[in-house]
């Protein structure tokens, strides 16, 4: 047996919260790894601080630690679990870095732990750019020339050789954080400084610019006896200069001759051998000069990555799963190809389709951020499309992206395509716009082609390969032919569908409605076919039902005669809709499988577990649009469709699907409308006697002014039907309201704006519950740590609540039950409350899965989404053996993770959600749970040093006792004049520190110098809300921990005290859940 029998327990590290550059692809890979190793009989111990992951489901690993992924805390897990090996390659850069920390500090050696998959030597060689360059030189491969610098002087001398533009890449950072392109001396100096600050070892690499070169990636897998295979080749549509995570990418490579491809393949094999990845996967990036084919090695990641997740979905070859098995000794040929089941994994997948990945951005949440794409990744998610041709995959990709386009279509308004009015007029302005890569570029390309600008000109401006540009030109050509055709014949319609056009696109081309086109198409029986992703281009039969749509001659998807349920996923990750919903969908699939249904998953997000073809009985990798989903429903004829687990994406389709005759399982479409429609919702509230903040609806600016005047400022405004607080603002006066109203209407043209009285200084609480129509189970009541006004997704929260009166909690429970029953909810419901002066107000009711479902499930051990799925499928809560309100074995704190280190934006929290992910701290006390949550979210908690406090007048009273506690903990207190005075009056003395403009050294000087341990700053009233912006940005840039609310300050104080006084312990969630079943012990 090649399986290593000398190992018993294996430790796997996850990647922590979802952040830009490290998203749910590591849940996918980690989940596969856990399952793969358990299958082999190993005891698997997992550490991941992210509760929204499927991998942290208590049913999965033998021991799951939702604890900070830092060397200190992982060592505690090691001490308890005594693993024999650590698999560091499944949790992204986070896991690799922590594994290396543990190696360097001798912890691994002390406990006799072996790194498997990739060892310390190869990790170091791949990660350290200097060593990597040497390694490449040894095997005769070239890297973009340049050098490593640690000072500005060194940087200035190296740029003499490299020339401008120069690429600056900080060493050891994630997703290119702190990197950039400098086109001149001034930019270069700034970029070097930023890069040196971002690098944990104060080192940056200055690269020769290969901007505009063709960019390729190979996914490589190697086993312990040196068998190497290339799983997938990827060609970037956007050439070098745009981070691959932000690039549109295509698989397989489209424009390489076999001679060039084999040269690249040979290089990849040499590289993995030289770096010495012993058993597992790696990703290698190449740049190729379009002029003469010169090939450079850009970088290598000795671990699974975003690209390897994409490659796995694109080919059907599960890289992480195979990698985990190789790490424990298997050889490639001993493992089966999971798709064919009859052939081995030692082969190279071949595709007979084209895969297009499109990045999804969130600049609408950060309007002040520069949306130029460069070497630092900025996208928050992605969608993948599979088609028989590039053009059909391209169109499908834009449907899946969910940015309001139903294919590759331009917007009526130039500004929606990132253009000024004058830029669409002439060729030169348009070409100038195209030179700057932004998320709008695909649409600008279409405008350029529509303006009949030649492919050569566009190539010169963008360096996008002419082959791709010609493909786009062909799409346009067919659009024109269709629009100009004297009549639409069945042949023409069929051809257009084969080309990848959506019904809605075709409708618009000829001034029809989508329904008309659909009716005609159905009439002519022009329906999609479904082909299989089979790893072998049809050479062998596939056992795994993994499909994509096409309009070919034969369909391979044969519906079974079992009872089926379709689960709609959540599409590309974005802020406000991410992994939490994928968790819910996967849980539903598992529960419904258990209940005997055939489960059919539809989703287009390649990063997710839900699109692992091992999860559901059948997977359709398709966009979540009405047309794409309706066709699958037509083919499969399921018992019903679940729309309430995937966030807004599927929910938005519910009514139209129902109108087409689909059965929506669980809560009715009408009930969803009663909760979403403000007037109908008010009726519901009145009927059950729920208090709501004064509110009104405005369909015009005049109405808005009237409503606001009526209920009084401040008001909370938002468009209806949005997730993640999109365009939600707290408005303090009428001019601000006027400015806002225009934006909001643009954000959601079909829906009016809701205006609520804003409850200042209220507490907020969130409830997740399940209802079966008769009974209600309260999953958990979470109290927000931030005051009202901070979006629930951005606010830290604690379960169980720690500052709410029992009466308020009872009222919350009662109201939640009433809402669930009144709306006849079948499935999940989430209700948000504000508590002010003892009174409970209802803020919103969402009859669907919420972002907090996984958090509550991990904290209580009760799988809410699974239960909800069973209920939707017709079972009763009474039969499912679930407590009416599950107890929490400890205190669980959820904290949000923000992209502030990437985006130059204000860090103040508000009603618009801006966090990308979350972590959970779980312990016996609030202080320690909060401390763990902060550490996991990457917020350091300083234990001593100088503390600067500068708060607004209304907080000065509150802050004084808090600062006294910090003083007692040994902090030295510095305060600005006003704050100092107020505190002095209350008997707390502090040193004066200048504000910017008052004298030197001022606060910023202190922050930059690095002698400040903690900054406490609340905005000085609405007018000066942005005055302290620079100070908070400086804190982010220089890594100074900061607190911006009194409640967070108080919680941080609790955390510090806990860290000082309590034993730092880790505990698996399995043990916590078990402890509930046991009689209370004395400790």
């Amino acid at each position: 047996m090649p399986r290593r029998d000398d190992l018993e327990t294996i430790l796997i590290l996850g990647s922590g919260p979802i952040v830009i550059g490290q998203a749910c692809e590591f849940d996918y890979s980690g989940t596969q790894a856990v399952r793969a190793l358990q299958e082999e009989g190993y005891r698997v111990v997992l550490v991941n601080s992210n509760p929204a992951t499927i991998m942290t489901d208590p049913d999965l690993a033998d021991r799951t630690y939702i604890e900070p992924i830092t060397a200190e805390w992982v060592e505690k897990v090691i001490e308890r679990e005594k693993p024999d090996a650590l698999l560091p390659t499944m949790g992204g850069q986070t896991a690799l870095n922590v594994a290396m920390d543990l190696f360097r500090s001798g912890v691994l050696e002390k406990h006799g732990i072996e790194l498997i998959g990739a060892n310390e030597r190869s990790i170091e060689m791949a990660e350290d750019r200097e060593q990597f360059t040497e390694a490449m030189n040894r095997i005769g491969l070239k890297v973009p020339h340049g050098g490593f610098v640690r000072t500005l002087d060194e940087a200035m001398s190296i740029v003499e050789e490299v020339g401008y533009p120069a690429i600056v890449r900080p060493s050891y950072t994630l997703g290119g954080t702190g990197g950039g392109i400098a086109y001149n001396r001034k930019e270069y100096k700034a970029q070097i400084q930023k890069g040196l600050d971002a690098s944990p070892i104060t080192e940056v690499l200055v690269d020769r610019s290969v901007i505009g070169w063709k960019e390729y990636e190979l996914e490589v897998v190697r086993d312990g006896i040196d068998n190497v295979i290339i799983v997938c080749s990827i060609e970037n549509f956007d050439p070098m200069g745009v981070h691959t995570g932000d690039s549109i990418t295509v698989a397989p490579a489209q424009t390489l001759t076999d001679v060039e491809y084999q040269e690249m393949r040979d290089a990849a094999i040499e590289i993995i051998r030289e770096i010495g990845v012993e058993a597992g996967g790696c990703n290698i990036q190449f740049a190729v000069n379009p002029e003469d084919g010169e090939m450079l090695v850009v970088e290598m990641n000795p671990r699974v990555s975003r690209s390897s997740a994409l490659a796995s979905k694109a080919t059907g070859f599960p890289i992480a799963r195979v990698g985990a098995k190789l790490a424990v000794g298997y050889h490639l040929y001993e493992l089966p190809n999971d798709i064919t089941k009859t052939t081995p994994a030692s082969f190279e997948p071949v595709l007979d389709y084209v895969v297009v990945k499109l990045p999804r951005f969130a600049f609408e949440k950060f309007p002040e951020v520069d949306d130029t794409l460069g070497v630092q990744m900025k996208s928050v998610g992605e969608t993948m499309a599979i088609g028989r041709t590039f053009r059909s995959a391209w169109q499908k990709g834009f449907r899946g992206l969910e940015v309001g386009r139903h294919g590759w279509v331009t917007s009526e308004r130039p500004e929606d395509d990132g253009l000024q009015e004058e830029e669409v007029e002439g060729m030169q302005p348009l070409l100038a716009a195209l030179r700057r890569p932004t998320p709008h570029r695909p649409f600008q390309l279409k405008r350029a082609l529509e303006a009949d600008i030649a492919v050569e000109e566009i190539f010169d401006a963008t360096m996008i390969d002419p082959w791709f540009l010609d493909q786009l030109e062909q799409i346009l050509m067919w659009e024109r032919r269709y629009a100009d055709a004297s009549e639409v014949t069945p042949e023409l319609l069929r051809y257009m569908k084969r080309e990848g056009f959506a019904d809605r696109q075709l409708a618009e081309l000829r001034g029809e409605t989508e329904a008309e086109v659909r009716a005609r198409r159905w009439d002519w029986d022009i329906r999609p076919t479904y082909n299989v992703v089979d790893t072998c281009a049809g050479e062998f039969p596939a056992a795994t039902p993994y499909y994509y749509s096409s309009y070919e001659d034969e369909s391979e998807s044969e519906p079974s005669d079992r009872s089926k349920i379709i689960i709609l996923g959540s599409g590309p990750n974005r802020i406000g809709q991410g992994i939490e919903f994928d968790y819910c969908c996967v849980q539903a699939v598992l529960a419904l499988k258990e209940a005997g249904f055939e489960t059919i998953m539809i989703n287009s997000n390649p990063e997710t577990v839900s699109t692992d073809f091992d999860v559901s009985d059948k997977l359709y990798f398709e966009p979540l649009t009405l047309e794409d989903v309706a066709e699958i429903i037509h083919l499969e004829q399921p018992e019903g469709v679940i729309v309430q687990l995937g966030g807004q994406t599927p929910l938005k389709l519910a009514r139209a699907l129902e109108d087409l005759g689909a059965k929506i399982l669980g809560t009715s479409v009408d009930a969803i409308d009663r909760a979403e429609d403000r007037d109908r919702f008010d009726e519901v509230c009145q009927k059950i006697g729920a208090r709501t903040p004064d509110n009104g609806i405005a369909r015009s600016e005049d109405e808005a002014r009237a409503v606001a005047a009526d209920i009084g400022f401040p008001v909370l405004v938002r468009p209806s039907y949005v997730l993640g607080g999109r365009a939600m603002r707290i408005i303090y006066d009428e001019p601000a309201l006027e400015r806002y109203f225009e934006e909001a209407v643009r954000a959601s043209p079909d829906h009016p704006v809701l205006i609520d009285s804003f409850l200042e200084d209220a507490f907020e609480a969130d409830v997740d519950a399940i209802c079966d129509g008769t009974d209600v189970v309260i999953g958990g009541i979470m109290q927000h740590i931030e005051n009202a006004g901070v979006h629930s997704g951005d606010s830290a929260c604690v379960l169980p609540p720690y500052l709410l009166a029992p009466e308020a909690l009872d009222e919350i429970r009662d109201l939640t039950r009433k809402f669930a029953l009144e709306l006849q909810v079948v499935g999940l419901i989430n209700v948000q409350y504000a508590i002010k002066d003892g009174a409970v107000y209802v803020l919103e009711v969402n009859p669907r899965a919420s972002r907090t479902v996984p958090f509550v499930s991990k904290a209580t051990g009760v799988p809410l989404a699974r239960l909800a799925a069973r209920v939707m499928a017709g079972e009763k809560l009474a039969d499912l053996d679930v407590p009416e309100e599950p107890p929490v074995p400890g205190v669980a704190v959820k904290e949000a993770a923000f992209p502030f280190n990437r985006f130059d934006v204000d860090t103040l929290l508000g009603p618009e959600m801006r966090s990308t992910g979350e972590v959970m701290g779980f312990d016996d006390s609030f202080g320690m749970a909060f401390a763990k949550a902060q550490l996991s979210a990457g917020n350091r908690l300083p234990e001593a040093g100088q503390l600067i406090v500068t708060v607004n007048e209304q907080d000065r009273q509150t802050v004084t006792p808090l600062i006294r506690r910090f003083q007692d903990l040994g902090f030295e207190i510095l305060a600005t004049r006003g704050t100092q005075g107020s505190m002095q009056a209350l008997g707390l003395s502090s040193r004066l520190v200048y504000k910017v403009g008052e004298g030197r050294p001022n606060i910023e000087d202190h922050i930059v110098t690095g002698d400040i341990a903690l900054l406490i700053n609340t905005p000085l009233g609405k007018k000066s809300r942005f005055d302290d912006y620079a100070m908070r940005r400086a804190a982010i840039t220089h890594g100074v921990p900061y607190l911006t609310t009194m409640s967070a300050t108080s919680a941080a104080c609790d955390a510090l005290i806990a860290l000082r006084s309590r034993e730092r312990e880790v505990c698996s969630i399995q043990e916590r859940i078990e402890s509930l079943a046991e009689p209370v012990s004395s400790d």
Partner: protein, 353 residues
């Protein structure tokens, strides 16, 4: 239709390579076949004069899902369509090649035609049925050179190799030349006595189309040289001829192996090579490393997809051969060590002499 637009017949096979269509087109082993590419987009990087495996396209016809109307590569000299048209090769685009592939997978490689749309289906079908089956067809001699030619050694000449041409791909002599061999490529019909009377340092037996059972002559030359300890290396058809010479039998595979991703296990080392494959016939295997009928041979390489024989070596004589294509083009370079092995055998023999 693309290319010449004529009526053309052949055995329909599919190839799963995602790149390398030009090498496929010019591989003489595809003589008499209508080659379907499973990768849907063909022609993206055009055609150039360096990537030919023989002077012209050899396929009987070419079937693709989409022929790119443009091409992009710094190496390209013309488009695929132009190339086919100039070479008189007929192709067809817009075919659901996956459906066609699945059909062949289910029913085996079969005779077919690409016909102009104005022809009646029934007429075409009856003409197709009139075409000979691949079994028993000697196509190899037909594609061989008429006159011998020489490929000079690159660097110092160390060995002289005769290369039996049954449809040799340009890469085989090239890789030998790179390893210090002067290669004389000889016609399939070369007199066996001439060969035996002036034995080379090594004999290379090339790939080629058709049924090995129909190829005569070569077997005697192989045995004759082998008996005098001349190292022999065969590829594809050459491997089949060598195996047959030592008593093995060959048979037709249902739909052959045509692609660049087949895993082959090298039993001596327990390692896996990703190989380039193109064959419709195979050597019959037996139990363990035995080759039925050929007690002198032992199995060295096996296909991990279907367990078929991929390579043999003689137990005593310096003879080795593989079913797949270590010269690649198109396909991975994992198996080029076999050329080194052949050189080693020649070196050993020259030391012994």
């Amino acid at each position: 239709m693309i290319g010449a637009g004529k009526l053309t017949f052949g055995e329909v096979v599919f190839n799963t390579c995602m790149s390398g269509y030009q090498e496929v087109l010019t591989d003489p082993s595809y003589t008499g076949q209508l080659v379907t590419m499973t990768y849907p987009l063909i022609g993206n990087y055009g055609v150039n004069s360096n990537d030919c495996e023989s002077p012209r396209p050899q396929v009987s016809g070419f079937v693709v899902r989409e022929a790119s109307r443009t091409y992009s590569s710094w190496r390209a000299e013309s488009s695929l369509d132009e190339y086919l048209r100039n070479s008189g090769i007929t192709g067809i685009a817009d075919v659901d090649t996956r459906a066609l592939t699945r059909h062949i997978r289910a029913h085996g490689a079969m005779r077919g035609a690409i016909a102009p749309v104005e022809m009646l289906q029934a007429d075409v079908l009856s003409k197709v049925l009139d075409q000979p089956l691949m079994e028993g067809l000697d196509l190899a001699c037909g594609v061989s050179v008429n006159e011998p030619y020489e490929v000079p050694a690159i660097g110092d000449e160390q060995f002289h190799v005769l290369a039996y041409d049954f449809g040799v791909k340009a890469h085989s002599p090239k890789l030998l030349a790179e390893r210090g061999c002067r290669v004389t490529v000889i016609p399939a019909e070369t007199s066996v006595d001439d060969i035996l009377n002036d034995p080379p340092d090594g004999l290379f037996v090339s790939n080629g189309p058709g049924d090995p059972a129909a190829v005569r002559g070569a077997e005697r030359a192989i045995l004759g040289l082998a008996e005098s300890d001349v190292p022999i290396f065969g590829i594809c058809l050459g491997h089949q001829l060598i195996s047959r010479a030592f008593g093995a039998s060959t048979f037709k595979l249902p739909f052959g192996h045509h692609g660049g991703n087949h895993p082959v296990k090298y039993l001596d080392r327990q390692t896996v090579e990703i190989t380039s494959q193109n064959h419709g016939f195979a050597v019959r295997g037996g139990e363990g490393d035995k080759i039925p009928g050929a007690p002198g041979l032992r199995l060295t390489h096996v296909n991990l997809y279907d367990g078929t024989v991929e390579g043999v070596e003689h137990q005593e004589l310096p003879v080795l051969s593989v079913q797949y294509h270590p010269e690649a083009a198109p396909g991975p370079h994992d198996s080029r060590y076999l050329f080194d092995r052949f050189i080693e055998l020649m070196r050993e023999r020259s030391r012994q002499k």
